[in-house]
Every structure is written in C-alpha cells, then in structure tokens.
C-alpha cells in the first residue's frame, strides 16, 4: 500500500513538467486558460508536437510505436499535460482506430495507417451513430454493397465529431441484412475526400461547430479498407467500448478547471459571495478526490496487468457528472460575468467569459459514447447477472 509515486515516476513527472513548461505553445496555453475551444490549427499543431516526441500514442504497445510507458506514467503525463494548460488530444485516431488496426488490421493496413496517427498527421473521425440508431447502435442502416474490388456505401451518419477536420473516417456499415442485426455489421475505413461523401455541419448549443452529418451516396471504398472480416464490425465496436482508458474520468482536466475557478474567486463582489463559492468548490474538490483515488486504483491495477472491470463505466459516469457540476458551478459563481456570450472584452475574469459556452458544451458529455443511462443498463446486467 503506497499512495505516492515512486522516485522514478517522480523523475518522470519532473521531466514532463519541464517539457510542458518549455513546449506548450503560448497561444494554446492562453486559449485553454480562457476556457475557449481550440481551432483545427492549434489542435493539430499540439498533436504533431506530441507526435514528434512519440508521446501522442502513449497507450500503444511499443511494437506499434508506443513509448513503452506504464499506465501510471500515462496518468502522470495526462496530469502534467492538463495542469500545463494543454488540451486533451482527439481520441479518434489514437485511442480508437489505432488500437483497432493493430489488433484486427492486416499488416498492410497497419503499415499504411498507423504512422500517420502516431505522428498526428492523419485526422480521423468516427462514423457510428445514425439518425435512428443513437443509443441503439446495432440498428444502424448505412449499407455497404460489395461491387468487385470496392464497396458502394450509401446512407447517413450523424453526430460525427470533427468530420469537417478529418482526413479519414472509421465507420460501421451494414454489409448483410439477412442475418441478425449485430452480425451484419462491418468496419470500414473511408477517405473523407471520396466523391459522394458530403459533410454538413451541426452547430452545438455552445455556438460552435464540433458535430456533423455525413451523407454517403454511392461512395466507393476499396475492399482493402475493410478491417477484419465482413460481419466483424460489432465485435470490433465492443472491443473498443471496453478498451482501456486510464483517463476516462477526466480527473486531470477537472483539476485544472477547479483550479481556474479557485483563482477567480477573488474577483467576486463581497466576502459572502467568496465564502459561498469557496464552500461550493470544496464540495466539488472532495468529490473529485473520491473519483481521483478510484482512478488511481484502476491505473495501479492496469500496471499489474489486471483487466478492467465495471469500474471503468463508473469512472465515466461519475467523471462526466462532475465535469458538468464543475462547469455549472463556474457559470453560477460567475453570475453576471457569465452572461455575455460573444463580447470581445470579458467583463471581469477571463474564465467566466467562456464559462457558459463550456457549460453548454458539456451537457453532451453524459450523452455521447453511450449515455450514462445506457452505461447503467450495461452495468446492471453485469451486477445482477441478468
């Protein structure tokens, strides 16, 4: 039983902290400190910078280009990244299609796609959800029909985050409608520049463009872009759902948010306002501590090679709820200062100026990637043995 990092880990932390201090670009740091969203350029510059260090794909096995870090090191890295005011990286390439490729992909596919992800050069998006297949993913309808050396893809995806930035999409498509829903699904890689593929923006209630609809009209996808076999799509999707993510709870970024908020309390009008804010924040900090130590335990377990259990869903549920509560606290503590939406000059503290946008944005975090209700249904099955 030891709640401290080892000396090696402390050294590692020191070196990462130093690197962050020297290398996080100022404009990115300022953007995060304001609570604003990064644009594509900033996001990509940051990911390429990490890629150049070999750190972008820190969760990957060494043989595929990971840096060989332990889960604890990855956790430390994430903490240092967040507290340096650097943004999280996009999950689609690194955390999703990458592991799929090195687990299920052919040698040719690995060679072709992994280096671009590793260097932060290829941007990916995820084509899962459809207008009538939200939580009920297996009912998806976009179909891919084999036609010689390619598939013809027709249909529609929705809620496609960063489709307008992406070079490639990994996509669940129906290749067989004669079998059981889950068995007729395949996993395809689609070039976003293919003719017949159209991306239409969906604006989120934070006023920004993150999401898209993607329409497919006879989109030609070479058969070598099929990952695994036809019909393996559902297996791959499930693999991804349970795939280890030591940072799923968002602890590092919640810490950063709480610290930002703390630093702004002095800007409140009266002593009473300040005291009430401090007390509210303290409640959030205590809850964060419980989440953090639970997260520590899963990190330590990972390093011992123990498989993840239902804890990981628990971390997601509690983490997203806490993110929402922190963002709500920020808006409410900001009060008047949170009301302006598109002003140039913040009235009062910078952080309150973007707080209500962030609060709006984060309403989605209990919905995407399987809503918290769905997560609970899944957990219940495991617990109750139904």
């Amino acid at each position: 039983m030891n709640l401290d990092f080892s000396n090696e880990e402390k050294e590692f932390r020191k070196s990462i902290r130093q690197w962050m201090k020297e290398n996080v670009p100022d404009d990115i740091r300022r953007c995060t400190a304001r609570g604003a969203m990064l644009d594509k350029n900033m996001q990509q510059r940051w990911e390429r910078l990490l890629g150049s260090q070999g750190w972008l794909t820190s969760t990957w096995p060494e043989q595929f280009g990971g840096p060989g870090w332990s889960a604890t090191q990855r956790y430390i890295f994430d903490q240092e990244r967040a507290s340096a005011g650097a943004p999280p990286t996009s999950p689609f390439g690194v955390a999703m299609v990458g592991p799929v490729l090195y687990t299920f992909g052919s040698e040719a596919q690995k060679e072709r796609w992994l280096p671009g992800i590793q260097r932060g050069e290829t941007l990916w998006c995820q084509g899962y959800s459809e207008p009538n297949a939200g939580s009920d993913l297996a009912s998806l309808k976009t179909r891919a029909t084999r036609n010689g050396d390619h598939y013809l893809v027709n249909g529609q995806k929705i809620w496609t985050t960063q489709a307008h930035w992406a070079d490639m999409m990994f996509c669940l498509v129906r290749t067989d409608s004669t079998v059981k829903q889950q068995q007729g699904i395949s996993f395809l890689l689609i070039d976003m520049k293919t003719p017949g593929l159209e991306v239409r923006p969906i604006y989120s209630i934070d006023g920004h463009h993150h999401l898209n609809e993607v329409y497919f009209t006879d989109v030609k996808v070479p058969v070598e872009n099929l990952v695994g076999q036809e019909g393996m799509g559902w297996t791959i999707a499930k693999f991804l759902l349970t795939h280890e993510r030591t940072t799923i709870a968002g602890v590092a970024d919640i810490h950063y948010e709480i610290n930002r908020l703390k630093s702004a309390i002095d800007a409140l009008p009266t002593e009473t306002d300040k005291q009430l804010a401090v007390r509210r924040l303290a409640g959030l900090e205590v809850d964060l501590m419980a989440l953090e130590y639970t997260n520590f335990r899963t990190v330590a377990a990972t390093d011992e090679g123990k498989p993840f259990g239902p804890e990981s869903s628990g971390l997601k549920i509690k983490g997203t709820e806490l993110q929402q509560r922190v963002s709500q606290a920020m808006v409410e503590i900001g009060g008047l200062m949170s009301l302006p939406w598109d002003n140039e000059e913040p009235i009062g503290e910078q952080i309150f100026n973007q707080a209500s946008r962030r609060y709006n944005f984060l309403r989605a975090c209990t919905i995407y990637g399987g809503s918290n209700e769905i997560q609970k249904n899944v957990l219940a099955k495991m617990l109750l043995g139904l």
């Binding site: 959800s129 008047l336 809503s371 209700e373």
Partner: protein, 371 residues
C-alpha cells in the same frame, strides 16, 4: 384563496400566445438571434397595438393599470416562444424604474415609453457590485459620473440609459444618453442584446438625476423584485415547453424497438419533471401576486424564494430535457438547448440562487423583528 387567473389575465395570456404562435416561430427566433437590432418594427408596433406598452403601469401615471400577474402572463408566453423582442428590456424594466422613481422627469420619460417613442434601457448592474444593486460601483463626484455598467440589456437599440450610481453614501438614479458613454455591444447567453458602458467623467446636469437617497433605494428595490418575478415567468414558459416536448419525444422516439418512454427510468424522469413543473407554476402564481406587494419584506421574501427555487428546479428540468433528447438536444437545430440557455440566463440575471438564499434569510430575520 383563489388561484383562478382573472378573466382579464387569461385573455391577455391567450392573446399573447396566439399572437406569438402566428408571428414568431423557432425560425424567426433563429433569424433574430443573428440580428444586432432586436427591435423588429412590425412586431413592435403590434405589441404596442395590443396595449402591452402601457399595461405594466398604473393608470395614474398614464398606464393601463395591469397587474404583475398580467405582465407575467405575457412574459411567460415570450419565454415559451423564445421570443427575443425587447419588451421587458425596453418597456417593462425602464418603465417600472421610472414609475417607482415617481418624479416629474421620470414620469415624463415613462410617458414617452408608453407611447412607444423612447428607447430606454436600464443600467443597474456592474460586475464589481454583482447583484448588490443598492451599492453600484459607478461614482457621481459633483457633476461628474465615472465607472462602468455591464450587461445593460437594450435589444441593441437603446439611445437612453437609466444608471444607478453612488454619490457619496447616497444612491442616485440618472438618465443619460447612450452616446455619452463608451459602448461595447454584445449578445448574452439567452441570445438577447446588451452592452457594456464606460463612463469617463461624464457631465451630469441636475435634470438628469431622477431621484436619490431613500427614494432611489426604494425604487431600485421595487424594480428588482418586479424583475425577479418576470424572470420566473419567463423560465416557467420555457420549462412548460421543454416538458411538453420531452414528453412527446419520449412517446414517439424509438430505440431498441420500442419508444424510449417505455423505459422506467425515463418515465420517472418525466414524472419528476411533471411534479416539479407543477410546483414551479405554484411558485410563479405566488410571486406574481406577492412580487408587487406593498409589504416590502413580504415582497422580498417571495421573490427571493421564487428565484432560488427556480434556480434549482427550472434549471434541472431543462437539463433533464436535454439528457432525454440525447444528441439532438445539444444542437442549435432543436429548441431544447435554446430553452436551456434561456433558463440558465434567467436564473442568473437579477440574482443567482445563493444571492437569493441570502436575501430569503435576511427577509426572515427582518420579519421576525417587524411582526
């Protein structure tokens, strides 16, 4: 006790609902969101024709003697329609302050508001004073006014602004032209238009000072309570729509081969929302009556309780509405997210939960002394 709306109020509410249904759709709202001028001439004239401009004010000052209940009925429908027309910002809010100030100058300006001639906004907030409206940071030194006002809601078009300031220990209310200040205009969380004003030794003549001292305090305090009640009405209208839309969505949206309303967890969410909505309605009725009570302590206690309650429950209903709608709930394409912004906004304007809890406690203590 009698909770039936007076016939007249029902008529006002019905007229407002019908007018907005015919003249203000979600598309109208989306278009208006992107305008910098929220005063749309046709609708503005129509509202004038409907008698709304004079409704909030006593007959003795040239108004039509409508009650707070009547005005809440309109504001509720404006909230339900997401309507951004600056009826509250350019009519009710400045008009009430002028009516409460009750001086010849103020009533003359009120006349012009009722006639639809003046475009006056209220600038009673600044970020240094926060919600403490009796202690603004703007300073009147002799004839010179300096400092800042923030979140001055003006529909993007006001030419005159009523500001509060401290002159020594005394609160004063001053009317001055917008263009005497440095102005930055922007949109607010609920989509409405507002401005920050910077005053740099602006010359204030005697006739620009509407009232001062206790009279100014009483005017601002009555104005504040009145506006709190309107916040609640607006939130109620929004919550009503969110609840209805969510219920409808649960009835019709299919997932896993069945409507999502067949899931017990969703059902219990909806029941909670139904019950909360009922209680929100009760609090609205309460505050619509007591929000203009002559008993200042009762008035303050009522508005504090209502605003504090709304900040919890109304916000909760819209959050759950988004959650049940799932992905589509967080897009600009659907109205749900816009209602969420409206409710969040209204829960923060004129005092957040904590501010009103403090007021509620204070009112309770004073009451114990008085009664």
């Amino acid at each position: 006790m009698d909770f039936k709306l007076p016939e007249n109020t029902t008529m006002i509410a019905d007229t407002a609902r019908r007018y907005l249904k015919d003249n203000y759709s979600f598309d109208t709202y989306i278009a208006q969101l992107n305008e910098s001028n929220h005063l749309e001439a046709n609708r503005w004239q129509a509202m004038n024709d409907l008698g709304w401009f004079g409704l909030p004010f006593a007959e003795s000052v040239g108004g039509y003697g409508g009650s707070l209940l009547d005005v809440c009925a309109i504001v509720q429908e404006l909230g339900a329609a997401l309507c951004l027309d600056p009826f509250v910002d350019l009519i009710v809010s400045p008009g009430k302050l002028l009516e409460c100030a009750n001086t010849p100058t103020s009533l003359a300006l009120l006349d012009r508001i009722i006639a639809g001639e003046a475009r006056v906004a209220c600038g009673l907030y600044d970020r240094h004073a926060g919600y403490h409206v009796l202690n603004p940071s703007l300073r009147l030194n002799g004839e010179r006014l300096s400092g800042q006002k923030h979140v001055v809601s003006d529909g993007g078009v006001a030419d005159t602004v009523l500001v509060s300031a401290m002159s020594g220990d005394e609160l004063v209310i001053v009317a001055l032209p917008f263009d005497a200040c440095g102005v930055e205009r922007y949109r607010l969380l609920d989509g409405s238009r507002a401005a920050s004003l910077t005053l740099d030794d602006v010359l204030i003549t005697d006739e620009m000072v509407l009232c001062r001292g206790d009279a100014a305090k009483q005017a601002v305090s009555a104005w504040f309570d009145y506006l709190c009640a309107l916040d609640c009405a607006r939130m109620y209208g929004a919550c009503r729509e969110v609840y209805q839309a969510t219920l409808e969505y649960a009835r019709t949206r299919k997932q896993f081969g069945t409507t999502i309303g067949s899931f017990q967890v969703i059902q219990h969410y909806l029941v909670d929302a139904f019950i909360d909505l009922q209680q929100l309605e009760s609090m609205l009725l309460m505050v619509s009556v007591k929000g203009e009570s002559a008993n200042v302590c009762e008035r303050g206690r009522a508005t504090a309780a209502a605003k504090a309650y709304y900040a919890n429950q109304a916000v909760g209903i819209t959050q759950q509405g988004i959650q049940i709608h799932g992905g589509v709930g967080v897009t600009e394409e659907l109205n749900i997210g816009h209602y969420f912004r409206l409710v969040t906004h209204a829960s923060l304007s004129h005092g957040d939960r904590e501010h009103h809890m403090s007021r509620f406690i204070q009112a309770g203590e004073n009451q114990n002394e008085v009664v």
